[in-house]
Symmetry: C2
Subunit: 186 residues, 2 copies
DNA sequence: GTCTATAAATCGATAGAC
DNA sequence: GTCTATCGATTTATAGAC
């Protein structure tokens, strides 16, 4: 990922925030620069002054989203056992997903964003680290499917209609509790 | 949902098939009628002769996708116990998701499609039946979160990068096995 | 940083011939 | 059913003033 030099100007921050909200609602492909400009109350030209292309905005949004995931991965990798590492990462992923529900949604569900993550090497590396941690040392079909379920469940459940009217704390607790059932050893 | 009268002409079938594939790759919002026309080798006007608006195409795709889910729900509702009904539905959902992976993906993950499902009453009714079956009679936070996890995990895991190179049978078996762990009583 | 103005391409959608 | 041709709106993107 990018260095911590990723300090954004107020203008850029407003653009990224607006883009994230719009991406969550209309999808990346269904969000135009005009919509972003209207949301923050400026013209398209002002947006283009900060980001030269739409792809750069998608990139910036992806960076914000993945930065927290990466720091969670780094924290998890510092644990002594693989089981502890996985536990820490899952906890962080649940916290992140619940705290900013639409953020997780955009990251792991939007088709355009998923393509972006696969095509940009820095993102792929973060996802590879996360996947390795979730699989906990194994590499067979059970571990792969379990990791896929974990990632999909966390990102998907928080924006499911059934979870919409749950308060954050209830959702966080239940999600963490039930997701732990997926592991055999307890 | 619509009556079984939903028999499509060859032309309409080609359009819906192409649209489904493109929706999965670029998202609904990122797919134009030109892209659909190019994929099946005709002009936009030919597409418009079958469907008067883009929304009608999205509707047709949603109908194809939800028709199988609805028949699975009907089958499940015929079971005697709620536990059996849930079991049957989950089995059908896993089969459906694995068999046509991108189909499940588009249905439950695309932001535009999700909006569509919420705004059209017939779709909402099917989803309400599915959710009721997944919750198995309960209505509290645990049941809600469990149902949300189930739906998100099944639809999301089948298109997760870690599951891409698994053959259908392995994926189906593991997914079903692990998803069952979410239930306390066994 | 933000604006007006505009270019060039593409969007969804329609008319009418075959 | 499919085509050519076109409309008006919207898209990404740029030039240049303030």
């Amino acid at each position: 990922m990018k260095r911590p030099e990723a300090s954004y100007s107020p203008a850029k921050t407003r653009i990224v925030d607006a883009a994230l909200a719009l991406f969550a609602e209309h999808g990346v492909g269904g969000t135009s620069l005009q919509m972003i400009a209207d949301t923050i109350g400026v013209t398209k030209a002002a947006v283009y002054h900060q980001y030269n292309t739409k792809d750069e905005i998608v990139l910036a949004v992806a960076q914000v989203v993945l930065a927290r995931l990466e720091s969670a991965a780094t924290l998890a990798e510092a644990e002594r056992s693989r089981a502890r590492a996985r536990e820490v990462l899952i906890g962080a992923m649940v916290d992140l997903a619940v705290e900013r529900r639409q953020l997780a949604s955009v990251l792991q569900r939007d088709p355009v964003m998923l393509r972006f993550l696969q095509e940009h090497e820095p993102f792929r590396q973060v996802m590879a680290r996360v996947n390795r941690l979730l699989m906990g040392g194994a590499s067979g079909a059970p571990a792969r499917v379990r990791a896929a379920i974990l990632a999909a469940a966390i990102a998907g459940a928080v924006v499911h209609p059934l979870a919409l009217d749950l308060d954050d704390e209830s959702l966080r607790r239940e999600l963490l509790k039930q997701v732990r059932k997926l592991f055999p050893n307890r």
